[in-house]
Symmetry: C2
DNA sequence: GCAAATACCTACCGAGTGGTAGGCGACAAC
DNA sequence: GTTGTCGCCTACCACTCGGTAGGTATTTGC
């Protein structure tokens, strides 16, 4: 299938001005989104300002608001964009026959060279635990999906005797996700120190999987 | 040993006005700190405003700044306060002969009825991964200490054959901390749904410990 | 009861916030 | 090449931010 362009992935059904029709506009929208990722990653949604994002993207802040009518709309676009990019790599791995959890670990591995992305999800996922947060539903659904999928995978394995004794699929599923999340914080903190001491997120996740699978 | 009073724990060496000398002031300071915990917990450090905190604490915002000269100073006081309260319960458990990891799980258990505290640490620990954040050093040190202590405990056990085969102490130590952190996010999100579906953080941590210890 | 320190207020500051109004030039379909 | 759309700008809005100035009232040690 033809790969979706960034613009197609980013622009929902045209709201207000029919956005995404001119090439120039599409390019600028992508640029804004990539800049917004950096900003939200650094100081979270609350902490980031449209003026800072727009300046870094080389546009005035009303110019930004022309493309994304509100700050929340920009956040939504950022999350959709990330979901598309990440989901695609994961699905490709899976289609190639890669094991579900191995594909999960590969996401972690890829993220280890994309600090802003890690910062983004670390910052937003905790911020968004407040029900009023514009990304609350996004993360709520995201965790539901992740836990459900992982539980299914583990349940399948359990039936084939592929689980270590005493391991409960639903509990282990949640723990994998939690482990990946929690490691992000320590990984980000370890960026201060020497590279040799940097936390290896993927290795930790693999070690956990080795404990529960057999 | 005599328990430190809240005020003694909270007020550092007198800076500017010699704070903590009047009973009224000490009481108000505690009130402000407790309100600040709620505010920082809900919207993070960046998201919280001194005006909101001060209003909820029944004081004007310059009144608040009389007690804590800057917003960062207030944050510092909040973190010190929480460290004192939490650390005390942990040390009491340990002094009573409770196992290190069991004492750790009990912290998690206690936290399961103190949502604001969980929100606070979840929000701040990710926010503070940025080196410029006023709480950066606090969390950096905190994780160092936690990982070091846990690694020591696991290494001791390893020597006595108390570890499951293939478990590496340093890696497992980091994983425990990461798991506790990551579970907080899912626990907070599960607050939306029915009580029966609420994530049991302590049970998950216990299950992990059961995997690595023997 | 007096003096000194503390507690806390109103008023204000400059800077920054998300968002709006209205214009103007570049673009693309016809 | 005209016409309607789109991209993006300057100027402005009301509001909020952390912090300061300078005052009054309360509390405390003596």
């Amino acid at each position: 299938m033809p790969a979706k362009t960034t613009a197609e992935a980013v622009n929902g059904p045209a709201v207000g001005p029919a956005r995404g029709r001119y090439a120039k506009g599409r390019a600028k929208r992508s640029e804004i989104i990539e800049t917004a990722i950096l900003a939200f990653a650094e100081v979270g949604y609350h902490g980031a300002s449209l003026r800072d994002i727009s300046a870094r993207a080389g546009i005035s802040h009303p110019g930004l608001l022309h493309h994304f009518p509100t700050k929340a709309a920009l956040l939504e676009a950022v999350l959709e964009y990330r979901d598309t990019v990440d989901g695609e790599a994961f699905r490709e791995d899976r289609a190639r026959g890669t094991d579900y959890f191995e594909a999960l670990v590969r996401i972690v591995e890829r993220n280890q060279v994309r600090r802003p992305l890690v910062e983004l999800f670390a910052a937003l996922s905790t911020e968004a635990t407040t029900p009023e947060h514009p990304a609350h539903e996004f993360f709520s659904r995201r965790y539901d999906r992740l836990v459900r999928e992982s539980t299914e995978q583990l349940t399948e394995r359990a039936a084939g005797g592929g689980l270590a004794p005493g391991v409960e699929p639903a509990q282990a599923a949640r723990s994998i996700i939690a482990l990946m999340d929690g490691l992000q914080v320590q990984w980000l903190l370890s960026f201060d120190g020497p590279r040799s001491e940097r936390v290896d997120m993927a290795a930790h996740v693999r070690a956990y999987l080795a404990l529960i699978l057999r």
